[in-house]
């Protein structure tokens, strides 16, 4: 029996223009359509595969505004059993540290053996929420797994790091984050979409988790944004069509920039 909680994030669509709210320097989530972070689909997929190979339940949890319910719904359509949506106005503007607090408190309320995460949020996340949640829960974390195998109480992962390929093993309660190397995530089937309508989604606020409003949101952050600036638009580059001299022209350009 393996119960898995998967943390999934609702993110602005990466193909749309993203920007900041000039009023409070937070990420603008109002004017852009959102969706379940593509990288979290891999985590849902891995959790479903583990549970399908044995027994257990997959619960997805998201922290975010009202629209974030869409991310939960998508995961339920893929096959997750139930959802938790933590929503509270005070959470707006939270950084990775505050988000990890809310997630950790929510996960503590659930029955679980393993907690799965995506490798990073597609909206500029730095991939530290999983390790921070693990730190808060006092659990080991194996992050950036490119392969996950669960065998009874033991979880084995392969990690293709910069300096080495490692095999890592943990047992008992564990936090795991997975990369897109773990394998394609499934699309929701028609049956899955219909079934998801009947699956339970709990709505929790900060008070359900025993968190004070002052512990989250922009004001709780230990860093502050001083200013933000759009990158100056790239000046249009020079584009030539190869007429037998493309390589030479390329080198002329490189030489003009002192690369050759």
């Amino acid at each position: 029996m393996t119960n898995i909680v998967v943390a999934v994030k609702y993110v602005p669509d990466a193909t749309a223009d993203r920007t900041f709210n000039s009023s409070d320097n937070t990420v603008d989530r109002e004017n852009v359509d959102g969706l379940l972070s593509e990288l979290d689909e891999y985590a849902v997929e891995q959790a479903l595969q583990v549970v399908e190979a044995g027994e257990g339940e997959v619960t997805v949890v998201t922290v975010g505004p009202a629209d974030a319910a869409d991310a939960v719904r998508k995961a339920l359509q893929m096959g997750a059993d139930k959802g938790v949506h933590v929503e509270d106005d005070a959470i707006h503007g939270s950084d990775a540290f505050a988000t990890s607090l809310v997630l950790a408190k929510a996960i503590e309320k659930l029955e679980y053996d393993l907690v799965f995460f995506g490798m990073a949020s597609t909206d500029g996340g730095l991939g530290v929420v999983p390790t921070l949640v693990a730190e808060r829960l006092g659990l080991p974390a194996v992050t950036y797994a490119s392969e996950v195998t669960v065998d009874g109480d033991t979880v084995k992962i392969r990690r293709d790091g910069d300096a080495a390929t490692q095999e890592i093993e943990g047992s008992g309660k564990l936090v795991v984050s997975v990369t897109d190397q773990t394998g394609e995530a499934r699309y929701p089937s028609f049956k899955g979409i219909m079934a998801a309508k009947k699956k339970p989604v709990e709505e929790w606020s900060l008070s359900d988790l025993g968190i004070e409003a002052s512990q989250v949101g922009g004001d709780a952050a230990w860093t502050k944004v001083e200013s933000f600036e759009p990158r100056p638009p790239r000046t249009a580059g020079e584009i030539v069509t190869d007429e037998g001299d493309g390589g030479s022209k390329l080198v002329e350009f490189l030489a003009s920039k002192k690369f050759v």
């Binding site: 194996v142 584009i239 030539v240 069509t241």
Partner: protein, 315 residues
């Protein structure tokens, strides 16, 4: 002057270039103290300005992921009250430093591309939304814990005392949860490290699987070789070569994209390169929106000509 703790990475004992860059930044803040787990060439650390070198030499740091190092470093932060803690923006550097920040109630900044100091105020610059915005931030509580991306500064030698101080620390049982059961060091490619290289030459699906023209150009330029996910997924290059959202983020002086269309996930990993060049046979490939110079043509003919021309110029 107060101490600045710098987390050093040194696979197989060899101190990485980003670690030396951190020592250079640390000197603008205070007195750099290098923090080393396991072996590292301490001579190089002194040469690049380390006044002190704290060494944690216990097998436990190599046997388990992240948590033991985070505990040890957090203890050192508590003992030394440094002006700042700098760590490389690698996977491990980010995880260790984020945990240290949480344990020591300090503000954390990830992936800084610049760190400036004005009196006691440290301001960091980050590049966000696939490089479309730059954000300046400051830490408002505790010693700023900052991870800095490679190539943010050039490492500058400046002799430091390099006094080695071995630190012993009792790692808790709770930190021994993620056991490394095997570790196979990556084979050196003989080329510069992708994330550290001044020049990166990449190939995509357009290579058709034969990277020889891409590699020849890379070698003529002394560059690292990168790949798109399409090339990696096709098995032409290992995942460690992948540039992009789910691969490496690179920010070299020069990025040359060959047979790469320029999908948003690829751009996310190379958009902040100083100069961008592309060779693609489709004049409507989105990569051309980014370039400083582009050649519409077949890489199979353009690249060999360029490589030959560079050879001639070198004489």
């Amino acid at each position: 002057m107060s101490e600045v703790l710098v987390l050093i990475e040194a696979p197989q004992g060899k101190v990485t270039k980003p670690s030396l860059e951190l020592l250079t930044i640390a000197r603008s803040i205070g007195e750099p103290s290098a923090v080393v787990f396991g072996d590292a060439d301490t001579g190089v650390l002194a040469e690049y300005g380390a006044e002190k070198i704290y060494t944690f030499d216990d097998a436990v740091y190599g046997e388990f992921l992240v948590a033991p190092k985070a505990e040890a470093l957090a203890q050192l932060v508590a003992d030394k009250s440094p002006a700042a803690v700098l760590a490389p923006a690698s996977t491990e550097g980010k995880e260790i430093s984020a945990r240290v920040a949480l344990k020591t109630d300090s503000g954390w900044i990830g992936d800084a591309v610049d760190v400036t100091v004005d009196g006691d105020t440290i301001t960091t610059t980050q590049s966000v939304f696939a490089g479309n915005f730059t954000v300046d931030s400051q830490v408002t509580q505790g010693a700023p814990v900052i991870t800095v991306k490679p190539n943010s500064v050039s490492p500058e030698a400046a002799a430091g005392a390099g006094t080695v101080e071995a630190v012993s620390f009792e790692v808790s049982e709770a930190a021994k949860g993620a056991k490394i059961t095997s570790s196979e060091p990556r084979q050196s490619t003989g080329r510069p490290e992708l994330t550290e290289a001044a020049i990166v030459v990449s190939g995509g699906r357009g290579t058709g699987g034969d990277f020889s023209e891409v590699e020849a150009l890379a070698d003529a330029l002394g560059a690292a070789v990168g790949a798109s996910r399409a090339a990696v997924d096709s098995g032409w290059k290992p995942h460690t070569f992948q540039v992009g959202q789910t691969g490496k983020t690179v920010s070299p002086q020069l990025y040359v994209a060959n047979g790469i269309s320029g999908a948003i996930q690829h751009r996310a990993g190379m958009q902040t390169s100083k100069t961008i060049v592309a060779v693609n046979k489709d004049d409507e490939a989105p990569i051309f929106e980014l370039v400083d110079f582009g050649v519409v043509g077949d890489l199979k003919t353009v690249l060999p000509q360029a490589t030959e021309e560079i050879g001639k110029r070198k004489g």
